[in-house]
């Protein structure tokens, strides 16, 4: 997991300032663009203005080369719009299989260079170098970072930017300053390395906006902005009691810790994640029957969206979908379905889950908990079993997920990342929420 999310109001985080640790974050520069170039040196490799993304009419930009970004093109933008801004850009499809392989190669190289390596996503890696000071004989963290950056480039051909600090939060933010074309003063764009020295975390944070802090979403940033809090110093200037009153005690503590550049979350190598799930316990059991089924299906859609978003964020696709129901008598029942192909879209996760939910609900028992999970992450992305039967023949393969489903989910992710979680929702989820709200109001009134 990358950085911890803000605790919900009421939660509490008691984190001591991290000292004495040496953490690096390696972030690949325009990763998909770099891989596409290496895969097709004569085509994509020669195009300075390169767009990686869906090439169909409705496709979106997954990644754009820096030359194209200069035209205002951003990830998540429809390809058609990107081409209006930069008409002579070359559009190539996402080299998925090659990206996974390249990401593995980077990780393998890093594992020879650092004691603890954690892949936070397909193109981001945390390294914990704490305690290696002697090993690297007087080398500064910045020098180590530069050396590792060089080794990764040598071994895999991929350019990375490296942020360094005494904790993950500051290392991640520092990596932004190390990026090519980083515009901020003191940026490490030249060297690809930016290290915040121990003890200087708070000074570093003071140059940032509150919205830059990972975990501060558009909703929270907007709420704070209404109260005149835009920069980190603005935030620190507010009396803690006031902040607690505005955003809740737990969240206020969390924000202040972050604003001071403190984070003691650990870099954990461990096993890669095996499953992702979300569940919901009902205060009142959901009765059997059509109304209850509709309520659960609406909720299943919300849970599927949450699971789908995490899946895509991690750059995974999953083959096995499991739905879990806990009956009113606490007995837990579940169904699993393994698809012939791995999926990542909300719709596919939901549709497969819904069929199993209906099956589980057929027993006619009241439900107290509903959960959905995905597992069986694709271990060899890009391997495709060819089919004998053409798409228009009887018995043609039924895909659980279309390119359109994937594009839709990714575009929705981008919209949410920019405008907040509620910016885009299926109508069904909106209706479900409206109904629940009105029921709550009714019960409050009575």
């Amino acid at each position: 997991m990358p950085l911890s999310k803000p605790p919900s109001p009421g939660g509490r985080s008691n984190q001591a300032p991290s000292a004495g640790r040496s953490i690096l974050l390696l972030d690949c520069d325009a990763f998909f663009v770099q891989v596409a170039r290496r895969e097709d040196p004569d085509g994509a490799g020669r195009a300075e203005r390169l767009l990686v993304g869906g090439s169909s009419g409705r496709g979106v930009v997954t990644s754009a080369s820096y030359a194209v970004r200069a035209f205002g093109v951003r990830s998540g933008m429809p390809v058609a719009e990107a081409l209006r801004l930069c008409p002579d850009a070359l559009v190539v499809p996402v080299p998925r299989g090659a990206c996974v392989e390249r990401s593995r190669a980077i990780r393998a190289e890093l594992e020879t260079l650092a004691p603890v390596v954690q892949a936070a996503s397909i193109d981001e890696f945390y390294l914990d170098l704490t305690g290696t000071g002697r090993l690297f004989a007087g080398e500064s963290l910045a020098q180590t970072a530069a050396r590792i950056r060089g080794r990764v480039h040598e071994a895999t051909g991929i350019l990375v930017s490296v942020g360094g600090a005494t904790n993950r939060l500051v290392a991640k933010l520092a990596a932004g300053f190390a990026k090519p074309h980083a515009t901020r003063a003191g940026g490490g764009g030249e060297t690809g390395v930016f290290v915040v020295p121990p003890g200087r975390e708070a000074d570093f944070m003071a140059s940032l906006a509150v919205a830059d802090i990972p975990g501060v979403g558009p909703a929270l940033a907007g709420e704070l902005e209404q109260r005149g809090i835009v920069t980190v110093p603005d935030l620190l200037a507010v009396e803690p009691e006031w902040l607690a009153r505005w955003v809740g005690e737990g969240r206020a503590d969390w924000l202040r810790e972050r604003a001071l550049g403190r984070d003691d979350s650990e870099v954990t190598a461990g096993e890669a994640r095996k499953s992702i799930s979300a569940e919901r316990t009902y205060g009142t059991d959901v009765p059997p029957g059509p109304a209850g089924n509709a309520e659960l299906e609406g909720r299943l859609l919300e849970l599927s969206m949450s699971v789908g978003a995490t899946l895509r964020e991690k750059g995974f696709r999953a083959r096995t979908i499991t739905v879990k129901l806990r009956d009113a008598d606490f007995s837990t029942r579940q169904r699993s379905h393994t698809l012939p192909e791995a999926v990542e879209s909300d719709r596919a996760v939901y549709e497969v889950g819904r069929a199993m939910l209906r099956d589980l609900r057929a027993r006619g028992r009241a439900t107290r908990l509903l959960g959905i999970g995905v597992a069986g992450f694709e271990d060899e992305a890009g391997v495709e079993q060819l089919d004998l039967i053409g798409p228009d023949e009887p018995g043609a393969p039924v895909r659980a997920e279309s390119d359109r489903d994937r594009t839709l989910s990714r575009v929705a992710d981008q919209v949410r990342a920019r405008f907040g979680d509620d910016a885009i929702r299926p109508g069904r989820v909106m209706e479900g929420r409206a109904e629940r709200d009105s029921r709550r109001r009714e019960s409050d009134e009575s």
Binding site: E39, P93, V94, P95, R96, G97, A98, V100, E101, R104, R319, P340, G376, E378, D379, E380, G382, V383, E384, Q385, L386, D387, L388, I389, E393, P394, G395, A396, P397, V398, A400
Partner: protein, 371 residues
């Protein structure tokens, strides 16, 4: 109802019929076997609503009648009874069983509750050699799909045309087709998609030397030989045009010792991904090089000698599909032909000496690296 039956006949009958009983059902009567007296014996029937089995067993009938009783329980009891005559009698909805000094009473359900097996007119049917029928089933039914999303592929296509019986099965990734001349008696031209569960019952109940009468009644098919009958619902829908996918222009072919390839594939597949089971076969002059590289797991390399003198070609396969096909092709030597890395490869048996050649082939679709 009152009849006496030898323990062997009772046990054999129950064992044959209870295989058609569903292990889990929401309709309790389906866990039961229907007993009906008929002429010089009794008839036992079992069904899961899709496939039904009926068996005529010799018995000494004292009083006619019908009742259903729990199949698995009866079978458990019959297995342990001494080898003596068993007397079975009904009292209301209860069945009473006596054998030597053993006595059993089991609660049954009225025979009217039992679903009626399809009425099939065997006089309007045709006959097939048990040996041919069983060989067709054995060589093809392994290839049916178990994916619910493509229901027509959940059955075996059985065609009667041009004086031949053909069976074809596929899951879309690999396909098996076998053809056998049907003899002069077969004039019918027809086709249907049969669930593999029914064919399994046919394999269990009929022998090579049987002449099996087959008849169709609307959406059902019946098989009969000797004292046994199998009924099945047919799968509705149009089967894909399989002829179209069988390559006719595979211009490279290798002659391979089946067991040698089989064990090499099995060896390297140990390192293949659990999901894709991907292995690579590289055909070069006189050799096949097998390679597996699975990220996070490891790699394997192996080589075997084969008869091949075509252009070098590398094809990726799901090892499981390849192993399965090799097992069913069966001959010591097999011919594998292909055209390109993304086109279907064909595996066929190679008959040696006087052995009768089989008109049998299996297709395996390769794995491709996308992007």
């Amino acid at each position: 109802m009152n009849f006496s039956i030898t323990r062997q006949n009772l046990h054999q009958g129950l064992a044959s019929v209870s295989a058609s009983i569903p292990s889990k059902t929401t309709l309790p009567v389906l866990s039961n076997i229907l007993f009906e007296t008929s002429g010089d014996g009794i008839r036992m029937s079992g069904t899961d609503l899709d496939v039904g089995v009926r068996l005529q067993v010799p018995a000494e009938v004292k009083e006619g009648g019908a009742l259903t009783a729990p199949g698995k329980k009866l079978q458990e009891i019959a297995k342990e009874l001494p080898d003596e005559m068993v007397v079975i009698e009904t009292r209301g909805d209860q069945i009473e069983m006596r054998c030597g000094r053993s006595r059993f009473k089991l609660n049954g359900l009225p025979s009217e509750d039992f679903p009626q097996l399809p009425q099939v007119d065997f006089d309007g049917g045709w006959t097939a050699d048990g040996k041919d029928l069983l060989s067709l089933i054995r060589h093809t039914s392994f290839a049916v799909s178990t994916e619910e999303s493509r229901p027509v592929l959940n059955g075996v296509l059985w065609e009667l045309r041009d004086g031949e019986m053909r069976m074809v099965a596929t899951n879309g990734h690999r396909l098996a087709r076998m053809r056998i001349p049907a003899g002069p008696s077969l004039e019918t031209t027809t086709q249907f998609i049969v669930p593999p569960a029914a064919l399994q019952q046919v394999q269990r109940l009929f022998r090579d030397e049987d002449q099996v009468t087959v008849a169709r009644e609307q959406n059902h098919l019946g098989f009969r030989a000797g004292n046994a009958e199998v009924y099945t619902r047919l799968i509705e829908g149009t089967y894909p045009n399989y002829e179209q996918v069988i390559p006719k222009d595979n211009d490279k072919s290798a002659l391979i010792q089946r067991k040698v390839l089989e064990s090499a594939v099995r060896r390297v597949a140990a390192v293949a991904s659990d999901q894709t089971h991907r292995i690579r076969l590289e055909f070069t002059s006189g050799r096949v090089i097998l390679n597996v590289l699975t990220p996070d797991l490891g790699e394997a390399h192996d080589e075997i000698e084969v008869g091949y003198d075509g252009e070098p070609i590398t094809i990726g396969f799901n090892a499981n599909y390849l192993l399965e096909v090799l097992r069913y092709v069966g001959t010591d030597e097999v011919k594998m032909s292909f055209k390109a890395p993304e086109r279907a490869a064909v595996v066929e048996p190679v008959a040696v000496g006087d052995a009768e050649p089989m008109d049998y082939l299996c297709l395996v679709m390769p794995l491709r690296l996308v992007d």
